[in-house]
């Protein structure tokens, strides 16, 4: 079996068994239960909520991200194993949403980690979440969900953006220097 066929098989498997970790930063915790439980039942597609980033394939970032939370988001994303996919959930991850002029939230999530699918709305309905999952399946099938490869390729740019975001707050600067030493 050549490499292309093998990666196609891997994509088919990965599509049918996406394990999810959701990072509920405040919003979105209300919209997830209907999706997981009997109303919309995402386990039909083999999706499952996992407890740790190591086991997860899909990273669901819900709602606004303060600079402090972004640091945790990046940490969680880097702990996940390839291939991994990110869904940005709600307007806040697209353009800051209602926090667009806030002093300590980030505006565009895709500057810091690669995002495969966005869900617009404040808040998006559970139907929209299911729709985004189906869209993600479709993208994985066609080999378009390559955010994790982008993160490897443009690692420097993503890291630079992350550092710029962190250094807006003076108390975070110290931690970054410690990170550099490692």
């Amino acid at each position: 079996m050549n490499h292309e066929n093998w990666s196609k098989l891997a994509r088919i498997m990965s599509k049918r068994s996406l394990w999810m970790i959701h990072f509920c930063t405040g919003c979105g915790a209300m919209e997830m239960p209907p999706v997981m439980t009997s109303r919309y039942d995402m386990e039909r597609f083999g999706m499952h909520a996992m407890a740790t980033p190591r086991q997860a394939d899909v990273f669901l970032v819900t709602g606004y991200l303060a600079v402090k939370t972004l640091k945790r988001v990046v940490q969680v994303y880097e702990q996940m194993r390839d291939p991994k996919y990110v869904i940005g959930f709600g307007s806040c991850t697209i353009n800051g949403g209602m926090y667009w002029d806030s002093y300590n939230t980030i505006k565009d999530l895709s500057k810091y980690i690669p995002v495969d699918v966005y869900i617009a709305g404040c808040m998006p309905r559970p139907e929209a979440i299911m729709d985004s999952f189906l869209k993600l399946f479709d993208m994985i099938d066609k080999g378009e969900a390559i955010g994790w490869q982008k993160y490897h390729k443009y690692y420097d740019q993503y890291k630079r953006n992350q550092r710029m975001a962190f250094s807006y707050r003076l108390d975070e600067v110290k931690d970054i220097k410690e990170d550099d030493k490692e």
Partner: protein, 320 residues
């Protein structure tokens, strides 16, 4: 002079049986999720979801490792559980056996759990440490009643070989039809619930408390191996129960019916382990989780006392 052809055939058969055990384990994972989903009034995943999950985990890339013990531990668990499966009589057929294989099986059952503990310890995650402490504690708790019942059976059947116990239960003279061992089966079924790590004894892997406990740092291929271990564990533990109390699924004697007997026995064995697992699933679906000291209290205060009473009953009955 070793007969190499026979040896090769034996090795191939052992490999085939192990692969079959893994396949049945993965099927059981899918069935379990489907049944739980139906109890929750959901549609649930397809029945072959277990195969997809394991294949997906093995196609994932490994970004991180925590040293060679961490890599080795998952293999250790899988190898341990496969070896245990080969020692068990499956539908009356035992590939590896000898005198006193019940003791061996009881020891072998601890090996995969120790492998699990090794890997969790190597990962250095505090959640894993808590989880493995709970796992070993639960093992300590459920082994006491289980061993009491098994010793009672060994005294009653006057053997230390599981294969002989299965043989003596032929022609539907199952141990569960003897009143004392019916109670014994209930005791062992509670111990089985702990062995299978189903609720209310899923204390070691409590996803909402300690982030799936020992498995917290495992991902990708490591987690794939651990899932194989867990799925095979279902088959091994239910087979042990079926061998002890339900005659190991032997309904037709091989000498009388030939290859047909193998086929029918195998199907009966499959249905019986499915039935035992189904009961565990029903208990799992409706109960919340015990705390560790509640589990210990349950096993040692009620389960073990009943086990000891059965043991005394059997001793008195045999000697008088």
């Amino acid at each position: 002079m070793v007969n190499y052809i026979d040896l090769t055939i034996q090795i191939l058969v052992a490999m085939g049986v192990t692969a079959l055990g893994f396949a049945i384990g993965m099927l059981f994972n899918g069935i379990a999720r489907k049944i739980t989903a139906r109890i929750h009034n959901r549609v649930g995943p397809p029945i072959y979801q277990g195969y997809i999950d394991v294949l997906k985990l093995f196609t994932k890339k490994t970004n991180i490792s925590h040293g060679w013990i961490f890599d080795f531990a998952a293999l250790f668990s899988v190898a341990g559980i496969a070896l245990t499966f080969l020692f068990l009589p499956v539908a009356g057929v035992t590939l590896l056996s000898g005198e006193g294989d019940i003791f061996l099986i009881l020891y072998l059952l601890a090996i995969p759990a120790l492998g699990f503990a090794l890997g969790a310890g190597a990962s250095g995650n505090p959640n894993a440490a808590v989880g493995i402490m709970r796992a070993l504690m639960t093992m300590l708790a459920y082994e006491l009643p289980l061993v009491m019942v098994i010793i009672a059976m060994m005294v009653y059947y006057d053997t230390t070989s599981l294969a002989v116990i299965v043989q003596k239960q032929a022609n539907m003279q199952w141990a569960i039809f003897i009143p004392v061992f019916f109670i014994g089966a209930l005791v062992a079924d509670m111990a089985l619930q702990g062995m299978l790590m189903e609720k209310p004894f899923d204390i070691p892997i409590a996803p909402h408390e300690i982030a799936s406990g020992p498995m917290v740092e495992f991902g990708g291929k490591h987690l794939g191996a651990l899932m194989l271990y867990k799925m095979m564990g279902i088959v091994v533990e239910t087979t042990l129960f079926v061998d002890l109390f339900l005659g190991g699924g032997v309904v037709l004697s091989v000498s009388q019916f030939g290859w047909l007997a193998y086929l029918v026995n195998f199907i009966v064995w499959f249905l019986l382990i499915l039935f035992v697992f189904f009961i565990a699933l029903l208990i799992n679906a409706v109960f919340p989780r015990f705390r560790i000291e509640q589990a210990l209290k349950f096993y040692w205060k009620y389960d073990a006392i009943v086990g000891i009473l059965i043991l005394i009953w059997i001793f008195v009955g045999v000697t008088i």
